[in-house]
């Protein structure tokens, strides 16, 4: 009778008593720590920093609502903001295309019937597992103007050395070269896995039809690898927009702000000047840039990514 008077409650109780209900409860208990952790440490901070970005706040007082003032100041009155946008864009354009193409070429080379493939793969992977701080300090030494090995090599080849990290022109390229070296191995391993998942039949059929190596590369490898290329590109863009440690360790954002990136500027505003609201606005601008570029890539992929031949 009671099931008729309060159907919803009764059904809920039935559900709890059933096998499916028990399974659901158990499932919620199992996912609880992770979901709770993600809500507390990721989801709520995302919302909180949106709120802070509309306030003026130095950590000591209470946040003061000032609507869009931070964003207006950023976009119209802060030349440093645009400099950091430009520098970060330079870094992304410098690292992502070169890094992707180079990794693809090396992956193809490693996917041939080559001796010691595992050794090569390990060697290319060594920089990836090293920390950005360690390799930044290492490359500081390599780039050192008078005694560094890079200039030594350039002089040996008959060029003149460059004052890499103390030059407005060369500091960012120096960081870009190092970062490509650092990340190459990761993309190589992804590309190799992708290459190995292409069915050999396609190549055999093409050989029967008289296709040469170049045709096979253009008509089979490139299209069938495109989902992997897409993955590599998307991830590299997301990661490289967040560049910080390189610039902090190697140049402190200098000389004359030529290597100051968005995250570096955010760090300065938030944790050196304690302009928490302004830093949050910076974080959100970065967030919007990354999300829109990622969405754009997902939209654009329909034109060039093939999920089958």
């Amino acid at each position: 009778m009671s099931a008729v008077t309060t159907p919803a409650r009764g059904r809920f109780r039935d559900f709890l008593g059933s096998n499916r209900g028990r399974e659901a409860i158990e499932a919620y208990i199992l996912i609880l720590p992770t979901i709770l952790g993600l809500i507390v440490f990721t989801a709520s901070p995302v919302l909180a920093s949106l709120y802070y970005s509309f306030t003026r706040w130095n950590l000591l007082s209470t946040p003061k609502w000032q609507a869009l003032d931070n964003y207006i100041e950023l976009l119209t009155e802060d030349p440093l903001f645009w400099i950091t946008i430009k520098n970060t864009g330079y870094y992304v354009l410098g690292t992502v295309p070169t890094g992707t193409v180079l990794a693809l070429l090396l992956a193809i080379a490693l996917n041939q019937k080559i001796r010691f493939v595992a050794v090569f793969r390990t060697i290319y992977f060594l920089p990836v597992v090293s920390s950005v701080v360690a390799i930044s300090v290492l490359w500081l030494w390599l780039y050192q103007s008078d005694f560094g090995i890079v200039n030594e090599l350039l002089r040996f080849l008959g060029f003149r050395g460059v004052r890499w990290l103390s030059s407005v022109t060369w500091a960012m390229p120096a960081i870009i070269i190092m970062s490509i070296w650092h990340g190459l191995g990761y993309n190589i391993v992804i590309f190799i896995a992708g290459l190995q998942s292409i069915p050999q039949d396609y190549y055999e059929a093409a050989t029967v039809d008289g296709a040469n190596a170049w045709h096979k590369f253009i008509n089979i490898t490139i299209p069938l690898l495109s989902p992997v290329t897409f993955f590599v590109l998307t991830l590299s863009v997301i990661n490289s927009f967040q560049v910080f440690a390189q610039a902090y360790v190697m140049t402190r954002g200098g000389p004359v702000n030529s290597t100051k990136t968005i995250v570096y500027y955010l760090f300065q505003q938030g944790f050196e000047n304690f302009h928490m609201g302004y830093a949050s606005a910076l974080a959100y601008v970065l967030f919007v840039i990354i999300v829109s570029l990622t969405l754009f890539q997902f939209w654009f992929q329909r034109r060039w990514v093939h999920y089958e031949l």
Binding site: L30, A43, V46, A134, L138, I149, W181, A193, Y248, A283
Partner: protein, 287 residues
């Protein structure tokens, strides 16, 4: 006729050989480029200050010395830095393996209302840049008195691994489900199935995740940099940055610092390489 074909076969073989040689040369040259900086790092770390500045540079230290390493551990507390890094990594990774394997098991094997929505939420948190969450996190940690403790680096890592949940869930899909069905018919609870059947089968993927998160934790710079400013709480990464600030032209000591922070991850990588490579293809390709 016949000689023409033989010629053609021969020339194709020659072409193949040429292509092969070029590929090898390319791989070796670039391989050397990948290795040379490491060689330089190790070699410089054993040099005297004087020899580091010698022109032309010496590839092998002429008078190898451990002076630089001695300075790191005697004049700077690098032993403590190492201990801090190990502690943070082990606790964070250990917690993460438990929580994310539990969640991955539920997402892969159990049925419950809201499952897809919750999983999409988990996935989307993977794309949030650290820079976006770091300010509110700092503020919360500041309020509850966790700044200048290791807790902000350990607790979130223990609980909130979207990446780990995703990786282990992908792996669960590749495991046969029959054994679990049989156990369920025998009256085993979900947690029992997780612990007795799924967890042992997940071992290889747990190793992969463990290696990955250990490296991420060990190499993390921004987190410790924001939350710690007392020297005795520093991790090795902060230690190297500190040494760089204090001894900025003493290349043997800076290189010794880099060797000390790089060596542990390098060893972990070399010993557990296969888990690493598999982890990348597991998330990378099916992602």
């Amino acid at each position: 006729m016949r000689t023409a074909r033989v010629d053609r076969v021969a020339s194709r073989r020659q072409q193949q050989l040429l292509a092969n040689t070029i590929t090898h040369i390319l791989l070796i040259v670039l391989g050397l480029a990948a290795l040379a900086p490491f060689w330089w790092m190790i070699s410089t770390s054993f040099k005297t200050e004087f020899e580091a500045f010698q022109i032309p540079p010496t590839w092998l230290p002429l008078e190898p010395t451990l002076e630089a390493y001695g300075d790191l551990f005697l004049n700077q507390p690098f032993g403590i830095f190492l201990y801090n890094s190990v502690k943070i990594a082990v606790l964070g990774v250990g917690g993460q393996l438990i929580t994310s394997s539990l969640a991955a098991f539920a997402f892969a094997r159990l049925d419950f209302p809201g499952k897809n929505v919750l999983f999409i939420i988990v996935l989307s948190t993977m794309m949030v840049p650290y820079a976006v969450t770091v300010i509110p996190l700092y503020i919360v940690m500041h309020r509850i008195g966790w700044v200048n403790t290791h807790l902000p680096l350990i607790v979130p890592a223990m609980l909130s691994s979207a990446y780990g949940t995703f990786l282990l869930r992908q792996f669960m899909f590749s495991l046969p489900v029959e054994l679990e069905d049989a156990a369920r018919i025998d009256g085993c609870s979900s947690f029992g199935i997780y612990r007795r059947i799924a967890l042992p089968l997940m071992k290889p993927a747990l190793a992969t995740l463990g290696v990955f998160s250990f490296m991420a934790s060990w190499n993390n710079f921004f987190g410790p940099f924001i939350f710690l400013d007392r020297k005795y709480l520093f991790t090795v990464q902060l230690g190297v940055a500190l040494v760089q600030r204090q001894w900025y032209t003493s290349w043997p000591r800076l290189m010794a610092g880099s060797v000390v922070v790089t060596l542990p991850v390098l060893l972990v990588f070399l010993l557990l390489q296969r888990y690493f490579v598999r982890g990348i293809s597991l998330t990378g390709i099916k992602g």
